[in-house]
């Protein structure tokens, strides 16, 4: 099966800046693919390379087996939901949504009908006669989605589409997007700097840093088995251990990651490793307590379920974890 989008050793350099540096990836058809990374990591440039707004300085891009270099955006069967939505301010909502069909020469009655259907799909029926300026951020986001989907793209590119929404709305949209993707079966490529968003929505995640992919895998793989210190740090917040500390905790003498929620307060059960330390601080986060424990100079973050008794600051505590959760990483 041909990949929906494939990159072979793709680079995009702006002068001395290597925005994207030697990236290989293959996105399967129907996949929900997230590109995760901090700002300036190259994830958005990758998306722009797929959309055709940028051309690679080296390497080869294919979209459904067809060479994409030199193909302008308006000839690609991909559509984009822009970060700040990029709705046309001089057009009504329905004109915005019908725009893609209008420029392709679809008749007026037909395209207005399709636009209304698309608006109904994103739960904005009857909003057609308004203008973008009259809608809230969340509503504009839905219009941008409808405007892209009405063209029935084979790949939908989403550039931090939820970044400007408040938390509640964002969680709601995450579910809706996931549902839409499942029901439409379109390949979604989603750029985000929010690791929670990437973990909860994506089938696979590519973690970007400095223009390169640090790790590519399912959310579970990326979370549980971070390949590098960067991934361990960026995806969730892990205890990144130096080789010395890792060895002291019973692992190999290598950089290692130990997730806070893999550590438990209390004595070791069978097969577990236990160490004692001193409780430095504790914070109540609602569902959990966030504890910091000093173990012979190494500070470990521990996530304890709310409701469990929390020792007083400065007390000696015993913490234990399964050796399998102490995950060694590559040095990079």
């Amino acid at each position: 099966m041909t990949a929906a989008v494939s990159f072979e050793a793709v680079s995009r350099h702006f002068g001395a800046v290597k925005a994207v540096d030697n990236v290989d990836l293959a996105i399967a058809e129907g996949e929900f693919f997230a590109m995760l990374g901090p700002s300036g990591s190259g994830k958005t440039t990758c998306l722009r390379l797929m959309a055709g707004f940028e051309q690679p300085t080296a390497g080869h891009i294919e979209i459904f087996g067809e060479t994409a270099e030199g193909v302008p955006p308006y000839k690609r069967s991909v559509n984009t939901v822009f970060q700040d939505y990029a709705l046309f301010p001089h057009m009504t909502i329905v004109e915005n949504v019908a725009y893609g069909l209008m420029v392709k020469g679809v008749g007026k009655a037909e395209r207005l009908k399709a636009a209304e259907e698309a608006l109904a799909m994103v739960k904005l029926p009857g909003y057609g006669t308004r203008r973008p300026g009259q809608l809230s951020g969340g509503q504009r986001q839905r219009v941008a989605l409808a405007r892209a989907l009405v063209n029935k793209p084979r790949v939908l590119l989403l550039d931090e589409p939820l970044g400007a929404l408040d938390l509640k709305l964002r969680e709601q949209m995450q579910e809706e997007l996931k549902g839409l993707q499942k029901s439409l079966g379109i390949t979604f490529v989603f750029v985000t700097h929010d690791q929670g968003e990437a973990l909860s929505m994506a089938d696979r995640i590519a973690v970007f840093n400095d223009g390169r992919i640090q790790q590519l895998g399912t959310p579970e793989e990326v979370y549980k088995r971070p390949r590098t210190r960067f991934v361990a740090d960026f995806v969730g917040s892990s205890n990144v251990l130096t080789p010395d500390v890792a060895a002291r905790l019973g692992g190999p003498r290598k950089d290692a990651s130990l997730r806070p929620e893999a550590i438990r307060l209390g004595a070791a059960a069978s097969g577990e490793t236990a160490v004692t330390g001193c409780l430095l601080s504790s914070a109540f986060l609602g569902a959990t307590h966030r504890l910091t424990v000093d173990v012979e100079g190494a500070r470990l973050a521990v996530s304890a379920p709310a409701g469990s008794p929390v020792p007083a600051i400065g007390e000696a505590v015993t913490i234990s974890f399964s050796p399998a959760d102490l995950h060694p990483m590559e040095a990079a």
Binding site: F53, Y74, F82, A86, A148, N151
Partner: protein
């Protein structure tokens, strides 16, 4: 935190007259706005609007053909004179010239403004502003006389056209009725070229400002949705730049309607509205007719703006 570091009260009463004045103005913002606006409003109200009204009033008087004195009785007979063949020709000539200059300015200015707004960065942008503004820093008379020399029969343009072996084309153009003449500097074509040059910055700058406000991602979004560059221009860029074009055209159109120097220096001896006003209020001593002529551009501009608004030129504002 010790109480010694905190003031005893949140209010300070240690300021003098100016302090109390600021407090009063802070409490009564309308008063502040009034103080700001009274001087310019007095200026605008008495000197500007006042003189405009005096002018309008003059146009409803008439001149006694026998004595040459103004008869201070309200009448529309002066406006009637505007419809006489000679006067109406002046109006048509001026409006036509203004329309052509405006259209040509928009066509020439748009690519320049587009380049400046979308592509020019850093030094190129500074150069653009300098190139557009520099002509505005020198006297308009100097520029017009310079153009008279450029366009003269022995001028550089004729010489250059000769070098290009295109003299036949220039001759053919000058042989055309109405727009031709014995040389460019005494033809309507010459007048047109000078108007086009002199008002060009007034068209470029508003268009550039309006294009500058079109976010780049709208153009990308349009391409992303399948629009070719031509479609993007027609459906996105042009409609969003339209307020700028209209703003620019208000300048070029009204400046051409009112100008009386350029057609006097470069062009045929036939009059434009500005020259007619000048002649009527000066040598002819017919103030009412001069006033009536002055009202014509005001009415035309009012009609033009109404039409532009109806067509939705300001919707994107």
């Amino acid at each position: 935190m010790t109480s010694a570091t905190l003031p005893a009260s949140i209010t300070r009463r240690d300021r003098g007259l100016t302090g109390r004045l600021s407090d009063t103005l802070w409490r009564h913002p309308q008063l502040f706005v009034a103080i700001l606006l009274i001087p310019p409003l007095l200026w605008l109200g008495i000197i500007y609007v006042g003189s405009l009204f005096a002018l309008l009033a003059q146009s409803f008087f008439s001149i006694d053909d026998f004595s040459g004195l103004v008869t201070y009785e309200l009448t529309l007979s002066t406006y009637g004179q505007l419809w006489s063949d000679a006067n109406f020709d002046i109006i048509v000539r001026t409006v036509l010239m203004a329309a052509l200059v405006t259209l040509a300015s928009a066509v020439v200015a748009f690519p320049i403004a587009y380049y400046a707004a979308r592509y020019a960065r850093g030094r190129m942008k500074a150069f653009f502003y300098l190139a557009v503004m520099l002509p505005l820093w020198s006297s308009y008379l100097v520029k017009v006389y310079a153009w008279k020399l450029i366009l003269a029969k022995e001028g550089i343009l004729t010489w250059f056209v000769g070098k290009l072996h295109l003299t036949w084309l220039l001759d053919a153009w000058l042989a055309l009725p109405i727009i031709g003449g014995s040389s460019l500097s005494v033809s309507y074509t010459g007048t047109f070229l000078v108007f086009l040059y002199v008002w060009m910055p007034f068209m470029i700058l508003p268009i550039q400002a309006s294009l500058e406000r079109v976010p780049g991602n709208l153009i990308e979004a349009s391409a992303d949705l399948g629009a070719t560059p031509g479609q993007t221009f027609r459906s996105v860029i042009f409609p969003l730049a339209l307020p700028g074009i209209v703003a620019g055209s208000i300048f070029t159109f009204s400046l051409t309607l009112g100008d009386y120097i350029i057609p006097q220096i470069v062009g045929s001896s036939r009059l434009f509205i500005g020259q007619a006003v000048y002649a009527q209020q000066g040598t002819a001593g017919n103030i009412p007719l001069a006033a009536a002529f002055s009202v014509v551009p005001i009415v035309i501009m009012a009609l033009y703006l109404t039409a532009a608004k109806r067509m939705g030129a300001f919707n994107a504002l």
